[in-house]
Amino acid sequence: MSVEDLLRRLEEKGLEPVDRGDVVSVAVEPHALREVAELLVEEGYDHLASVEGIDRPGEDVIEVVYHAESYSEELWGKLAEIRVRVPRGEPRVPSLIDVWPNALFLERETWDLMGVVFEGHPELRRLLMPPDWEGPPPLRKDYKVATEGVFVVVE
């Protein structure tokens, strides 16, 4: 269980991990996601700190980013990041709830707010949004928030 082991094993899988100081980042294809996640668990990353979606309408993708964290002292300062790019029209990734049990609410939230479908997740129900919410997921870039200017003209 060390960062070197992790980098070596990821490279053995033909991936290109990048060490950014406090994060080891690795980009994977959706079909390889689960395999890499299991590898991370074996290397001591016992839980997820975050699941998020980054909407990139310019490239027509949604980037799903997982941050795994470890409570083992040797891995404290280093998060493991998995990045998956999925098409914006049909964002589907396999659910990692079997690998990291605490993905339960993190994935559900990402589905709720970003519209990413986690296949195999047992309860993709509304979590933070109202149960009857319709319209684009609020964290997508095409959901606009009204903003105001600085100046008001008065008579």
Binding site: E148, V150, F151, V152, V153, V154, E155
Partner: protein, 158 residues
């Protein structure tokens, strides 16, 4: 961390502690509105605007995180002046801290009540008004907060 076993002794101890405070209470109540706490000079209360110092740079309106501060521009006039909407203001004090001429400043008045929402919007003309604490206007006694080893906070007349 180790944990002690508890029994009858602890029952007695708990009741005794309760009785101790029943005999010698440690109250922190301030009888507002008869008394009011005089707040320190650093307190971020209602904001005061100095008409003459303002150079209309609009930095205050630009940095306001809550869209409370707006620059009011009279039709035909060139210079815009800030006005504030206390429905929105969160008293973060960014506008005061960024003001390059100290035209905006904090007061230590915070206990203001309004009868209507419209009253809470201050265009520049009203923004210059001086702030007076309504409780103090009614004759509330000002108290000072003093830290005390025995009692935590003690409120003494200023």
């Amino acid at each position: 961390m180790s944990r002690r076993k508890v029994g009858l002794r602890e029952h007695v101890e708990a009741v005794a502690t309760g009785l101790k405070y029943l005999v010698k209470p440690n109250r922190i109540t301030v009888y507002y509105p008869e008394e009011t706490i005089g707040l320190g000079e650093r307190y971020r209360g209602m904001i005061h605007y100095d008409w003459d110092k303002c150079i209309s740079c609009s930095l205050c309106a630009m940095i306001c995180p809550a869209d409370a501060m707006k620059m009011y521009k009279k039709k035909g006039e060139k210079k815009a002046r800030p006005g504030i909407n206390y429905q929105r203001c969160i008293f973060c004090g960014y506008c005061v801290d960024i003001c390059p001429t100290n035209a905006l400043s904090f007061t230590n008045v915070h206990d203001v009540a309004y009868e209507s929402l419209e009253e809470m919007v201050y265009p520049p003309e009203r923004f210059v008004e001086e702030w007076v604490s309504p409780a103090e206007k009614e004759g509330a006694k000002r108290l000072k907060v003093v830290f005390d080893e025995e009692r935590g906070l003690v409120h003494v007349p200023e």
